[in-house]
C-alpha cells in the first residue's frame, strides 16, 4: 500500500513571511500519517460514543433489555427530573473549585519544583505519589481517613486542639462537598504541577536576564514574563483538568457512598445512579444524561477558550 501512494512531497518550500506558517499537504498524505491514531480513536472511542447516542434514543427494561425506540422520552425524563438542578449546581461547584484551586496551587508548586535545592529530586518523587496511586484506592483511603468514628483526620485535629468534637466530614452536608473537593485538588495537583514544570523549563533564561537588568521585582517579573510565557501550559492544564474533573467518578462515588438521595452527586455519579441505583434503573435515561454531560463539558470548555481567546494564544 505504501508504494502505491505517490503523495505530493514538494512542500519543502514554504512561505517565509510567517516563521511558523505550516506547510500544506494533501488529504491522502495526511491520512497516512494520521491513520493509526484515527483507527484507534474511531474504533475505541467514536464507535462506543455512537452506541451511547443510540442507547439514549431507546427504551430499556430494568435489567438492560432493549424494548424498542423511545424517541426523546429519555431526554425528557432526564431533563425534568427533580434532582437535576441540584446535580448541575453540584457539578459546577465541584469543577470550578477543583480546577481553580488545582491550577493556583500547581503554579506555586511548579515554581518551587523548578528551583535548585538540596533534596529536590526526592521532593519531585514524593509529589508524584498521589498521581501514581489508583484513584479508586486513594478514594477508599480518604473515606477511611475522613470517617466520623475511625477517621484519623478528626483524631489529628482533636489532638492538636483545632476542634474539640469530631466532624462528620462525609455525612454532614456542610462538609461533604468541601471534603470531596479537597481530595479532588490533592490528586489533581501532581499532574498539573508537572505540566507547569515542563512549561517553566521551556522559558529561555535570557528573558529573565533582561528582566533582571531592567530591575524588575520578582513579582513584576512573574506577572509580566513568566505568566504570559506559561500561558499555553496553563491553557492545556485548565482544559484537561476541566474534562477530567467533570468526568471524575471514584472520588464522589466513594466519599459520598453512605449518603442518601442525590444531594451531593455530580452529573457523572448521578448518571451512574440513574442506570443502576435509583428507582429509574434505566440505562436509556442514563445514556441521555451521558450525552447531556458531554454538551455541558463542551459549553464549559468553549466558554473558557472564548474567555482566554484561544486563537490568539495559539498563534503567538
Amino acid at each position: 500500500m505504501a508504494s502505491v501512494t505517490p503523495g505530493p512531497v514538494a512542500v519543502t518550500r514554504r512561505s517565509r513571511r510567517r516563521r511558523r506558517a505550516p506547510g500544506t499537504a494533501s488529504l491522502l498524505e495526511a491520512l497516512l500519517w494520521l491513520a493509526p491514531a484515527l483507527v484507534l480513536i474511531l474504533g475505541v472511542v467514536v464507535y462506543p460514543a455512537i452506541t451511547l447516542v443510540a442507547t439514549s434514543f431507546n427504551k430499556y427494561s430494568i435489567i438492560g433489555l432493549r424494548l424498542g425506540p423511545a424517541g426523546f422520552t429519555n431526554y425528557v425524563n432526564f431533563l425534568t427530573s427533580p434532582d437535576l438542578l441540584q446535580v448541575v449546581w453540584n457539578t459546577v461547584v465541584w469543577v470550578a473549585l477543583v480546577v481553580i484551586l488545582t491550577i493556583l496551587i500547581s503554579l506555586a508548586l511548579a515554581q518551587f519544583l523548578s528551583k535548585e535545592f538540596w533534596g529536590r529530586r526526592v521532593v519531585r518523587w514524593a509529589v508524584i505519589v498521589p498521581w501514581a496511586s489508583a484513584l479508586v484506592i486513594s478514594s477508599q483511603l480518604f473515606r477511611l481517613m475522613f470517617d466520623y468514628y475511625h477517621g484519623i483526620i478528626n483524631q489529628a485535629l482533636i489532638t492538636v486542639g483545632i476542634i474539640h468534637r469530631p466532624i462528620d466530614w462525609l455525612g454532614d452536608s456542610h462538609y461533604t462537598m468541601p471534603s470531596m473537593i479537597a481530595v479532588g485538588v490533592f490528586v489533581s495537583i501532581p499532574f498539573t504541577a508537572y505540566l507547569f514544570v515542563a512549561g517553566l523549563n521551556a522559558i529561555p533564561t535570557d528573558v529573565y536576564e533582561a528582566a533582571r537588568i531592567d530591575g524588575s521585582s520578582a513579582w513584576q517579573t512573574y506577572r509580566q514574563i513568566t505568566l504570559p510565557l506559561l500561558r499555553p501550559a496553563i491553557l492545556i492544564g485548565v482544559v484537561l483538568n476541566m474534562i477530567y474533573v467533570f468526568n471524575s467518578f471514584p472520588i464522589n462515588w466513594i466519599l459520598n457512598g453512605s449518603n442518601p438521595g442525590f444531594g451531593n452527586d455530580t452529573l457523572i455519579t448521578y448518571m451512574y445512579k440513574l442506570a443502576f441505583k435509583s428507582a429509574q434503573h434505566d440505562v436509556g435515561e442514563s445514556a441521555a444524561a451521558g450525552i447531556f454531560n458531554v454538551f455541558i463539558i463542551l459549553i464549559a470548555v468553549g466558554i473558557y477558550l472564548r474567555f482566554v481567546n484561544w486563537r490568539e494564544a495559539e498563534k503567538k
Binding site: 500500500m1 505504501a2 508504494s3 501512494t5 503523495g7 512531497v9 497516512l32 500519517w33 491513520a35 493509526p36 483507527v39 484507534l40 442507547t55 430499556y60 427494561s61 430494568i62 435489567i63 438492560g64 433489555l65 432493549r66 473515606r143 477511611l144 470517617d147 466520623y148 468514628y149 475511625h150 469530631p166 462528620d168 462525609l170 455525612g171 454532614d172 457512598g257 453512605s258 449518603n259 442518601p260 438521595g261 451512574y272 445512579k273 442506570a275 443502576f276 441505583k277 435509583s278 428507582a279 434503573h281 440505562v283
Partner: protein
C-alpha cells in the same frame, strides 16, 4: 527517499494491526453456538468473599467440565459491580447461561429465564425449603433458584450489657430502647444501637423492624408500603436517633459494612442487627468482642419474626443450552457441593438436606431453627426491585431530624401503585 515518510505511517499502522491480532488470540469465543447443544456455558457468580468464592467455583468448574465435557466459562464479579456488569452483558447480547444475583423477577418478567420444569430435576426442587421455592416463583413458575440464604438476628455486646447492668437481651421495643439508653449512658463514645440506614442495605434494616411490628411490604397481593404499622415502625426508627439519641451519629448516612458493623466489631456498639458473616468476622478478626445473638425484639407483642435473604442462580433461555444448564443445577444442588460452599462462606442452607447437615452446628442454631418460617421480602414481584432501590436510596432522608417518614412511605406506595 520520497517514500520514507510513508514507512513511518506504515510501521505505526502495522503496530496497531498486530496488536489487534494479538488481542484476538487471547480472546475467548462467544459461548452460544447455532444448533445442537452448546460446547460451553457462561456462568456469572457474585463474589461473596475473595478467599472462598473463587476457590469453590474453580473446583466446581473442574468437576462440571470433567462430568459433562462442556466448558464452563466462569466469571466472578463483586456485588458492587454485578448489576452494572449483568446489564452491560444483556445490552450487548452477551447473555450468560447462569447468573447469580439478588433478584430474578425482572429477568423472569422479561421472559429470559428457564423455569424449574425445564431445567431443575424434580428431586432437587422437592429438596429446596418451601419458603425459598415460594420466593423464587413468579406467576406460578419457579425461576429463581436459591443459591444460599442468610437470616438476621440481634447481636449484642455482652461486655457492654453487663457494664450497663443489663442481664438479658431485650424482647420488646420498650426494653430495647431502655437497654440502648443504658449502654449509651456508659459514655466514652459507646452507642446503644448501630443503625445502618445509608444506601448500601437500608431495605434490610427497614424490613426486619417492620416485620417485627406486624408490618409488611405486601399483603394479599397488594402493596401495603404505607400501612399504619409501617409508618409507626419508621417513626420509631427515626426516634431512636432523633429523640432517644441511642444510635451512632447520623444513621441515615451510615452504611452497614464499614459503618454499623464496624462499630460493633470495635466493641463500640451495644446492639446491631447482624447475620452469620458478621459472626464469622467477630470470631476471627475481632476476638476481643464478647457477644451473643438473640431473636429480634417485638414491637406488637407477637412472636419474633426472622428476616431472611436468599440470592438466586437463574438460567437464561439460549439455543441448545438446556442440557448444560440442567447438568449445572444437578451438580450444584448435590449436597457435597452446595453445603461445602455455604459452610465455607458462612451462610445458611436452602435445602432440607442442608438443614439436616447443618443441624449439628450449634453456633448456627439460632438461625437454623427459624429458617423454615423465614420472612422474606417480595422478591417474586418485579416491582419490588425498584421499590427496594428507592428505599435504599431515600430512607436515610426520611429518618433525618427534618425527615418525614409518613410522606416517604406514601410516596413509596404511590410509586408501587403507579408501577413505574
Amino acid at each position: 527517499m520520497k517514500k520514507k515518510y510513508l514507512r513511518w505511517g506504515a510501521v505505526a499502522a502495522a503496530a496497531t494491526v498486530t496488536s489487534l491480532m494479538l488481542a484476538s488470540c487471547g480472546a475467548s469465543a462467544p459461548s452460544s453456538s447455532g444448533k445442537g447443544s452448546v460446547k460451553s456455558i457462561k456462568v456469572v457468580i457474585a463474589e461473596y468473599s475473595k478467599d472462598q468464592t473463587p476457590k469453590f467455583w474453580n473446583a466446581f468448574k473442574a468437576k462440571y467440565e470433567k462430568q459433562t465435557g462442556i466448558k464452563l466459562n466462569l466469571q466472578i464479579i463483586d456485588w458492587n459491580d454485578l448489576d452494572q456488569q449483568s446489564s452491560t452483558m444483556i445490552q450487548s447480547g452477551d447473555v450468560p447461561d447462569i447468573l447469580n444475583e439478588n433478584a430474578y423477577a425482572s429477568y423472569a418478567a422479561d421472559g429470559l429465564l428457564y423455569n424449574s420444569d425445564q431445567v431443575l430435576p424434580a428431586a432437587t426442587k422437592a429438596d429446596i425449603i418451601p419458603a425459598f421455592v415460594k420466593s423464587g416463583t413468579y406467576k406460578g413458575k419457579f425461576y429463581g433458584m436459591p443459591d444460599l440464604s442468610s437470616a438476621r438476628a440481634l447481636f449484642y455486646n455482652t461486655d457492654l450489657f453487663s457494664k450497663a447492668g443489663i442481664t438479658a437481651a431485650p424482647t420488646t421495643w420498650d426494653d430495647f430502647v431502655a437497654d440502648a439508653k443504658k449502654v449509651t449512658a456508659l459514655g466514652g463514645g459507646d452507642v446503644g444501637y448501630a443503625q445502618p440506614l445509608g444506601p448500601e442495605e437500608a431495605q434490610a434494616e427497614f424490613a426486619i423492624w417492620l416485620f417485627n411490628n406486624g408490618g409488611d411490604f405486601k399483603a394479599d397481593g397488594k402493596w401495603t408500603l404505607n400501612s399504619a404499622a409501617n409508618v409507626k415502625t419508621l417513626e420509631f426508627m427515626k426516634s431512636l436517633s432523633v429523640t432517644d439519641k441511642v444510635t451512632q451519629n447520623n444513621p441515615g448516612h451510615t452504611n452497614r459494612t464499614d459503618g454499623a458493623f464496624s462499630l460493633f466489631e470495635q466493641g463500640k456498639a451495644g446492639m446491631v442487627v447482624g447475620f452469620s458473616p458478621l459472626q464469622g468476622a467477630l470470631d476471627t478478626q475481632y476476638k476481643s468482642v464478647k457477644y451473643a445473638i438473640a431473636p429480634m425484639p417485638s414491637g406488637d407483642g407477637a412472636a419474633a419474626q426472622t428476616y431472611g435473604v436468599t440470592d438466586y442462580l437463574m438460567s437464561f433461555k439460549k439455543t441448545g443450552n438446556e442440557a448444560a444448564v440442567k447438568a449445572f443445577y444437578k451438580l450444584y444442588y448435590s449436597p457435597s457441593e452446595i453445603n461445602t460452599w455455604i459452610k465455607a462462606e458462612g451462610f445458611l442452607p436452602v435445602t432440607q438436606s442442608g438443614l439436616k447437615e447443618f443441624a449439628s452446628n450449634t453456633s448456627l442454631k439460632v438461625y437454623l431453627d427459624t429458617l423454615p418460617n423465614i420472612h422474606l421480602t417480595p422478591t417474586d414481584d418485579p416491582e419490588w426491585d425498584k421499590i427496594a432501590l428507592t428505599i435504599k436510596q431515600n430512607i436515610g432522608l426520611a429518618v433525618a431530624p427534618n425527615g418525614d417518614p409518613k410522606k416517604f412511605l406514601d410516596d413509596l406506595q404511590a410509586q408501587a401503585e403507579a408501577g413505574k
